[in-house]
Symmetry: none
Subunit: 418 residues, 2 copies
Amino acid sequence: MLVELVTTGSELLLGEITNYNSAYLSKQLNELGYFVVYHTTVGDNPQRMKDVLKTALSRADLVITTGGLGPTQGDMTKIIGAELMNRPLIYDQAIADSVQAWVTAHHGTVTMTENQKRQAMIPEGAAIFDNEAGTAPGVAMQGGGKNLVHLPGPPSEMRWMYENRLKPWLLKTFGSQGSIRSLYIKIYDMGEAFIEERLMDLVKDQSNPTLAMYARPGFVEVRLTARADSEEQAEALLEPLEEEVRSRLNDQIVSFNDETMADVLGREVRQAGYIVSAAESCTGGLIGSLITDIPGASDYFRGSAGTYCNEMKEKLLGVSHETLERYTAVSAETAAEMADGSRRLYGSDIAVSTTGIAGPGGGTEEQPVGLVYTGVSGPWGTLVHRDVYHGGRAEIKRRAAVRAIYYVVRYLVNHKNK
Amino acid sequence: MLVELVTTGSELLLGEITNYNSAYLSKQLNELGYFVVYHTTVGDNPQRMKDVLKTALSRADLVITTGGLGPTQGDMTKIIGAELMNRPLIYDQAIADSVQAWVTAHHGTVTMTENQKRQAMIPEGAAIFDNEAGTAPGVAMQGGGKNLVHLPGPPSEMRWMYENRLKPWLLKTFGSQGSIRSLYIKIYDMGEAFIEERLMDLVKDQSNPTLAMYARPGFVEVRLTARADSEEQAEALLEPLEEEVRSRLNDQIVSFNDETMADVLGREVRQAGYIVSAAESCTGGLIGSLITDIPGASDYFRGSAGTYCNEMKEKLLGVSHETLERYTAVSAETAAEMADGSRRLYGSDIAVSTTGIAGPGGGTEEQPVGLVYTGVSGPWGTLVHRDVYHGGRAEIKRRAAVRAIYYVVRYLVNHKNK
């Protein structure tokens, strides 16, 4: 079943709020096996909204709107929807009573305004979704092979209504739409184009299962998705593709689904019984922050020494004055001594360091903006990596921090496998 | 001029990513006086994409797409756009050279893949937006009174391309579209409901200028907007409201527009000639990272000592063993000694520290998840603040880090005004 989501509200078109409703509903509906094929956003303009709903009903089987069900003049979605589905609006006493009860509970004993009463106007014959998270009821209309559903716009109400009203209604009305299984593989050390070259023939003529890839800050994500009538069938479809992809990426350190590289680091160092620390110049503390995003990181992480000036690199980490003079702070030599110094300072088994030029200023021809040296110091010696990252200052920091954590994992895994 | 934004990519329809591009572009374009009237999202399906672009070109004057310009098979936006605007695609050697240069700079001396070469195919006669934040160039085509623009999809590239390429092109091609002036005021120390109480009567019956407020992580944002034919008129409309709001918030430390609290900190400490440092336990390095997001932070920031275990709090910061034993690591006493210790260690004038329970585990009745002590040590003594933040682990860390920076600014401002 093809679905179009129509979000309404001028605040979306003004860029004042981000459209989280479409992402939420898409994820939920895809998990139920529905195909969401369009998202459309339109403002509080009756003619444009009518055109958008007409187009949506012509190209999708199920159209779900969010927003425009409230008590104000701008709230017109239900009126236009009822007109398009040829339903007169009828005053519903039960809904009026429940709106009154909600108003009384939340604002004391007050009379409903004329506008609030509008919320009790319901398209004839519609399924009514009463709203326990707010006042605006939702409705669903069926006719001519098309289905039009109106949900309220505030995300918390919309989510409550989906979970408690629309989802049960969909399951009852349309039965199972099959099952979807997805696997996400995050790859940290290859560009999109290179990954595609390695997986190219799997991408061609894809239908089911499908494979797609997305550039993320610091990694590329490959998504495998299979669709089938049952969970078991979807699983069976996905498995061979998953194995093929895994085997083609066998020398790559990856993370799966919601896992970050900091999760992988945690798993690897826990397994090895290692203690980790960091020393950060250009990343400013972001490596420490990413590592400590993982619950329980205190079991293996002792901290990150932020040394944002040469003096502290000497004092805290014992980087030699001569190294800083001779090679500058942004050099392989300094990165190596910083990592070694962090290991000594924290008494850790493995330490990672960064020093570089986050920009936007400070770049030269030999040391361009984005240049970052990453040191990894551990039981098998000290390695330094040189990278040039692109993007703005915050993005360069982020890419460098994610990659630094990856380099620690690679250091561990490479030596584990020997 | 009516604008439709078309975002492409199946990951949006699957709910895997949130549509930040539409919000960003809407905000920017509205500020230039353009009317964004539709957002549409469509997946990597050639027929549907073609239909969507056709509809968009029929109802808007300017259609801007994001996504689908990359080197993979799924990247088809430019091909379909060129077809609809009746332009053959032509291989552009200059673009090919710049893609090659980018590939070489970021991946070493390698040959472009066939797919990367596809990025150099340009619709005949199109304006070319070369992309210094990535490899995919953008294009703009004009014909039949319609304008079709293709921008890359990754948000950082798209933003760079808008700011440096599309915006100048729009101003040059279409001239002024009227003027909108907006002012964003970020308030760090009051809840939304309290702010609304203080500004309530300004919110009522608003038409032009308007006032709106949004809850953000760690602060509340108030937006004032005025629309007029000229910049001067818009300015004149906005000014009295701005003055009224500022006077009602006069005891609050706020930041304006894109400014973060770390920007305000930088301004204040530069002015005073102070050197800053930090000491972080529960925030793991995030304070250091936020402070170093500001270009030039190395002028006043020496670093943040990450001490994620008691031992390092003693060793690095000189927190006394007795304090840790008697009051635990999550206490006002520890926070104070950490801040004092960071000042000593880095030889700074002002230091900030955090120690708390980021969760999800580790909370008790006296020390619930979200409890954070923030210490500020400086020339006027050491202050400690106690807060309990809500949200998940990453959100608690973020709120605590933003608030910690705010506390340093408050410390400075309070003493400056005495």
